[in-house]
């Protein structure tokens, strides 16, 4: 059994939002946030946190970072029944918020030294971290002179200051060039080998499957599914698909006892791609015997977007770019609803 480093049990945090009334202009009510969240972080693993905009990913990360208090529920350390307060959480967690806009005449090293003061980080440690994130050549550059990618690296350096057991990364790949992103992912792998647990929230779900060990799908403040990719897919009843690529005439799949609704075909120039809902073990042999030109054949696992759509009941066609409204009612209600 994997060693658990942190457990959230029924953790709730709801943002306070203005809801003025004519005679009560200062009135605030409890709004969106995270609701009765249960989450287990295992040692040396990367947990991907995925959800639509406004799902509560950043709020969850802030709760884990000890920035926001847990209004209901508890945070436990490891497998033990030790309840952590926010101060203890901050001790063991390194937090990398989304898009920190470093600015000013202060140098990279000065900025790190200042924040390092809060974690008792020595100058030697700071120089080591600068080297680790690839900023040692820019340590004397003013913050205003940094590119977006360099700012991301600096924010990561701050998160690594206290040699944290848990690293929380909110959209860490934003602004990184492809080479930088690859180096960043390689660094994350190295950290996990050293036993650091990572929670990674990202919208860039395309390459996420190759990075993460576990996946948590969030929607409207709830974790809808959590586990390894296979576990999540299985829990959502998503089967792997057969993907066939070929050239020339597209075969009639109905001739091979496959219903039309179970096949999705894309044609581009002389090339075609067919995705079949279920695995078809003998289909390849039949197609080749019939002279169909096959260039690629593979079993494709459901991707993260499909899992998210299955978990939330949304579809790309229905939702489009629409952001989920904040004015929703929580999926589950509990006592002390408003005010």
């Amino acid at each position: 059994m994997e060693e658990v480093v942190l457990r959230l049990e029924g953790a709730t945090y709801r943002h306070s939002v203005y809801a003025p009334l004519p005679l009560k202009p200062w009135r605030r009510i409890k709004g969106p946030g995270i609701f009765e969240t249960n989450l287990t972080l295992q040692k040396g693993t990367i947990l991907g946190l995925v959800g639509p905009n406004g799902a509560g990913k950043t709020t969850l990360l802030r709760v884990l970072a000890g920035i926001l208090p847990v209004q209901h529920g508890r945070v436990y350390s490891g497998n033990e029944e030790v309840v952590l307060d926010r101060q203890q959480l901050r001790q063991s967690v390194g937090h990398m918020p989304e898009q920190v806009r470093w600015q000013g005449r202060k140098t990279v090293r000065q900025a790190l030294l200042e924040l390092g003061e809060m974690r008792h980080a020595s100058e030697k440690r700071i120089d080591g971290i600068l080297k680790l994130v690839g900023l040692s050549s820019r340590k004397d550059s003013a913050l205003s002179e940094l590119s977006q990618g360099m700012r991301q690296r600096l924010t990561l350096a701050v998160a690594l200051l206290g040699s944290p057991k848990i690293l929380l990364l909110d959209e860490p790949l934003n602004g990184l060039d492809p080479v930088g992103a690859a180096a960043f992912i390689s660094l994350l792998k190295t950290l996990t080998e050293k036993g650091v647990s990572i929670v990674l929230s990202s919208h860039q779900v395309e390459g996420l499957a190759g990075i993460i060990d576990r996946l948590a799908l969030m929607h409207r403040g709830h974790i809808l599914a959590e586990g390894t990719l296979k576990e999540v897919a299985k829990g959502l009843h998503l089967d792997s698909k057969t993907e066939i690529k070929g050239t020339g005439q597209v075969p009639h799949f109905s001739n091979y006892e496959i219903q039309d609704e179970d096949v999705e075909i894309e044609i581009q120039d002389n090339h075609w791609t067919a995705r079949l809902e279920q695995a078809q073990p003998h289909l390849l042999a039949k197609l080749i015997n019939d002279g169909v030109e096959i260039t690629e054949w593979g079993i494709r696992q459901p991707n993260v977007v499909e899992m998210l759509c299955a978990a939330t009941g949304q579809s790309i066609e229905d939702v489009g770019l629409e952001v989920a409204s904040n004015a929703y009612v929580p999926l589950r209600t509990f006592g002390g609803e408003e005010e």
Binding site: I67, H95, P97, E98, L113
Partner: protein, 276 residues
């Protein structure tokens, strides 16, 4: 390293950052003109103040020169610290700070001390220069007790303005709002307070405009306890026996304590609850 040392080290970094900032270089000539400049002017042996009055002692000259602190140094305090929280909040750096294990109360304390020292050190240096100017022009030193009261009162008024501005900065999301609050507050206490005093006097039936009217002086003295500038002058007046505005020394120091403790408490409490 103890918590105290950590707070002091962090405060030192913040002080250096602000003290050598561009805006300090811009404000320094203003401070130079206001503080030693006023000390030079008021220590002129031939000076005759409105009402035909002539300063009698070095402390009295420095009391008049304290207008430089009220007009110049307090404004610099506001301009130095208005974005201490709001800028970091807007840029996301505040979220990084709040995720550090250092208690928020300690972080707030470091922020207060850092911003305060950034204006206090240059102001004190200019006050020391002023003391030498007065000695040069009048041939008289201020006593050690005068020196202590003068320097500690100046430190206190700067601290109060820093606290108000930090508090405003922590509540506002836009830096423009923070600076508007700071400058507005400075304007209220520096220029508009006389108007408020006059209005209260009128409402209380005290004859306005009679400068030597005892009830007017007493009322003005009492109302000044509600203004940081007023308390500052009350504190300085504790070393000027010829001035009696109906407020005894302990009342001035007690109000000084309240003006220090209440905004500090409010700011620390605010920072403990602040959201990034």
């Amino acid at each position: 390293m103890s918590d105290f040392n950590r707070v002091m080290k962090l405060a030192r970094r913040l002080t250096l950052e602000r003290m050598f900032s561009t805006r300090m270089y811009i404000m320094l000539p203003v401070l130079l003109l206001f503080i030693p400049g006023m000390a030079w002017g008021f220590s002129d042996p031939n000076i005759v103040l409105p009402g035909g009055h002539q300063p009698e002692s070095a402390m009295e000259v420095l009391f008049y020169a304290s207008l430089g602190v009220v007009f110049g140094a307090t404004m610099c305090a506001v301009l130095l610290s208005y974005d201490a929280v709001s800028r970091e909040r807007a840029s996301g750096v505040l979220e990084l700070r709040l995720s550090q294990p250092m208690p928020r109360a300690h972080q707030s304390l470091a922020m207060i001390l850092g911003s305060w020292k950034a204006i206090l050190i240059p102001t004190w240096i200019l006050l020391i220069i002023s003391v030498f100017i007065v000695r040069y022009r009048m041939g008289e030193w201020i006593s050690f007790a005068d020196f202590l009261v003068y320097f500690s009162s100046t430190a206190l008024i700067l601290l109060w303005y820093i606290l108000f501005t930090l508090l405003a900065s922590s509540y506002t999301r836009e830096q423009g709002t923070a600076i508007s609050f700071g400058v507005g507050m400075w304007f209220l206490f520096t220029f508009l307070w006389a108007l408020i005093t006059t209005m209260v006097a009128f409402a209380s039936g005290v004859s306005i405009g009679q400068e030597n009217d005892a009830s007017w002086i007493m009322l003005e003295g009492a109302l000044d306890l509600l203004s940081p500038n007023g308390v500052y002058h009350h504190l300085l007046e504790t070393r000027l026996p010829q001035i009696d505005r109906g407020i005894v020394a302990w009342q001035s120091w007690f109000m000084g304590l309240l003006w220090t403790v209440l905004p500090s408490w409010a700011f620390i409490r605010r920072m403990e609850k602040i959201l990034p």
